[in-house]
């Protein structure tokens, strides 16, 4: 019988590919509860891969009936990297969570699982663990539950009632791509149908931190166009996903890739932010895809979009917030501050003023009119 420490090693290692960037929850503090989530989220440690640790991220079990080729727990994985199969007892995991939480190692729990038996049985065990934390241990802080493909509506609802955030991994952008890497999941009935239920539960006030999903990028020959089609749809009012995460496919047995291997993932995140935060619509963003349906890796997407935009050069003292957000080198913070200066009728006449409000001058100046100056660019001579 493996010890708790041994289980932590195996089930922590198996969960490290799951992504979660937030620990913030708008839910009200519960009187007498131990811990409460903050509205901003906290990172308690960082890893040499640059990712933060804010949650105890583990699987409940690494036993799994699915054969997804990108997963270390897959039935198709016969490599030497296959680990011994173990499971946490719900009480054991709840105690471990509380121990780490009180030592200020974590902000909460991220609980995922392989599927031992069927999805609903496993969902019950996930629910049992979270319920134990909430009721017996009075744990009031953040819990993210990763739910499993094929989960039933009742089981999903019960988890949604106790978790701050719920996610279901879509992994691939469409049914045919999923079929290329997994023969045991049905895209529509196992993944899209439960995702739709999440939309309903959220509307009814459950899942205070919303629901998210994750893609494995590069495990098939899917194009960025296919991925973005799904992404834009999931951010639309029909689905209302809070966040979507992208993870480059890392073959289990392959050697360490070059850093440039991850550039596609970076570009997808940039497009994601331009859509969610900078308010670019899906048509605009799709316009920068190349003929093969991929985001050009060489140039920053916002720069490519700005070059196509005919609103430039913008007069910095008259531009609106939305216009400013389209300038490369200007973000939310600097746009907000520039609008504040406009309101106070402070004229921006020198680039140093822009630098003080947080604008990246080198990137922004070619698109701005500051004082009476407009920076000359190579395009002016073409």
């Amino acid at each position: 019988m493996p010890s708790t420490l041994e289980k932590l090693r195996i089930l922590g290692d198996a969960a490290k590919y799951d992504l979660c960037a937030s620990t913030a929850s708008p839910k009200k503090q519960i009187a007498g509860a131990i811990g409460s989530p903050t509205t901003m989220g906290i990172c308690h440690s960082y890893l040499p891969d640059g990712r933060c640790i804010s949650l105890l991220k583990v699987l409940l079990t690494n036993k799994c009936i699915h054969d997804c080729v990108y997963c270390i727990n897959s039935t198709s994985n016969n490599s030497c990297f296959k680990r011994q199969t173990v499971s946490f007892d719900p009480d054991e995991l709840a105690n471990l969570t509380m121990t780490f939480f009180l030592r200020n190692h974590i902000e909460g729990l991220f609980l995922s699982s392989g599927i031992e038996g069927d999805a609903n049985q496993q969902a019950e065990r996930i629910h049992e663990t979270i319920k134990l934390l909430r009721d017996k241990h009075k744990f009031g802080s953040y819990i993210h539950a990763k739910v499993l493909p094929g989960i039933g509506k009742d089981e999903l609802k019960r988890i949604s009632e106790v978790a701050d955030r719920v996610s279901i991994n879509v992994e691939l952008p469409n049914s045919s791509r999923l079929n290329e890497v997994c023969s045991t999941k049905d895209y529509n009935s196992d993944i899209l149908r439960p995702s739709k239920w999440l939309t309903d539960f959220y509307k009814k006030g459950l899942i205070p931190s919303g629901y998210t999903t994750q893609y494995v990028v590069g495990s098939t020959d899917e194009t960025d166009e296919e991925v973005l089609k799904r992404v834009f749809d999931f951010y639309s009012n029909d689905w209302k996903f809070r966040r979507q995460y992208y993870s480059s496919y890392l073959p289990i047995t392959a050697e360490i890739p070059q850093p440039s291997y991850f550039l596609r993932e970076v570009r997808l995140y940039q497009i994601d932010w331009l859509h969610r935060v900078y308010d670019y619509n899906s048509q605009e963003l799709s316009s920068i895809l190349n003929e093969d349906g991929f985001i050009p890796l060489r140039d920053d997407p916002k720069l490519l979009l700005a070059r196509q935009d005919d609103i430039f050069p913008l007069d910095i003292n008259e531009a609106s917030y939305n216009e400013l957000m389209r300038v490369p080198g200007v973000g939310e913070r600097s746009a907000t501050r520039i609008i504040e200066l406009q309101r106070e009728k402070v004229d921006i006449r020198k680039p140093i003023q822009l630098k003080n409000v947080g604008v990246v001058i080198k990137r922004a100046l070619p698109f701005l009119k500051v004082g009476n100056m407009v920076q000359t660019t190579m395009d002016d001579f073409m």
Binding site: L5, G32, I34, T38, G50, R51, L96, T99, E340
Partner: protein
């Protein structure tokens, strides 16, 4: 969807006043600016506005690092004991943040020269004045205060022996070697911050992987041993 929230000018002035270099004269000047032209503080469009922001950022950075990275040792009487090195007088911010998250605990933090006690518990009075000679004395005093004030205790199950070993094992499992990115790592944990005692685990693990992957050469590596 906007993710940015501008810190109000009033809060920036307050935070800047906790900076180690902020004198009464500076604080007064900042308060005057807050009344006459608060937008200068938010937009950093004057020298004083820049300075207030710079000092407030330093204080917030310290408060954020301490409240994220301080490691607590729990004691049964709902007490969490931590240790940190403070450069600024940022404890009011740190205690507010930590106590908001851990409402029913008494937080006891030792710094280089002194210690701080804070709690959001409603069932205790103010902590009596006490100047202990040693760390043990201070802890015992706070434990007695807690024992006399309430009956709630931390369950024994949470006191896992070798809790630090569990954390170390967990931390190491989360590392994705294929994605090693030390530049990004140091953006979050600059070398100066990494020297802090509460980040010993991160520091030692970094040394281990740089050695293993041969990422860190110095000139000495190319010189022959005598």
């Amino acid at each position: 969807m906007s993710v940015f929230r501008q810190t109000p000018a009033r809060q920036l002035v307050k935070a800047a006043s906790y900076h180690v270099d902020s004198t009464e004269e500076f604080n007064e000047e900042a308060r005057v600016l807050l009344v006459s032209a608060p937008y200068e503080i938010i937009t950093k469009c004057s020298e004083m506005g820049v300075l207030i922001n710079k000092r407030a950022s330093a204080v917030y950075r310290e408060a954020n690092q301490i409240s994220s990275f301080v490691k607590f040792e729990p004691l049964p009487e709902m007490i969490l004991v931590g240790e940190c090195v403070l450069e600024h007088n940022s404890f009011p911010i740190i205690s507010r943040w930590i106590c908001n998250r851990l409402k029913n605990f008494i937080i006891l933090i030792f710094t280089q020269k002194t210690f701080f006690v804070a709690s959001n518990r409603k069932d205790i009075g103010s902590f009596p004045e006490f100047n202990g000679d040693s760390r043990e004395e201070v802890i015992e005093h706070v434990r007695n205060f807690a024992r006399e004030s309430f009956d709630e205790r931390i369950p024994e199950d949470y006191f896992i022996e070798e809790g630090e070993l569990y954390w170390k094992e967990y931390y190491e499992t989360q590392f994705l070697e294929q994605r090693t990115n030390l530049k990004l790592f140091h953006q979050f944990l600059p070398k100066k911050v990494l020297e802090k005692e509460s980040l010993r685990l991160e520091r030692e693990f970094l040394e281990k992987i740089t050695l293993k992957n041969d990422l860190n050469h110095t000139l000495d590596d190319f010189l022959e041993e005598d």
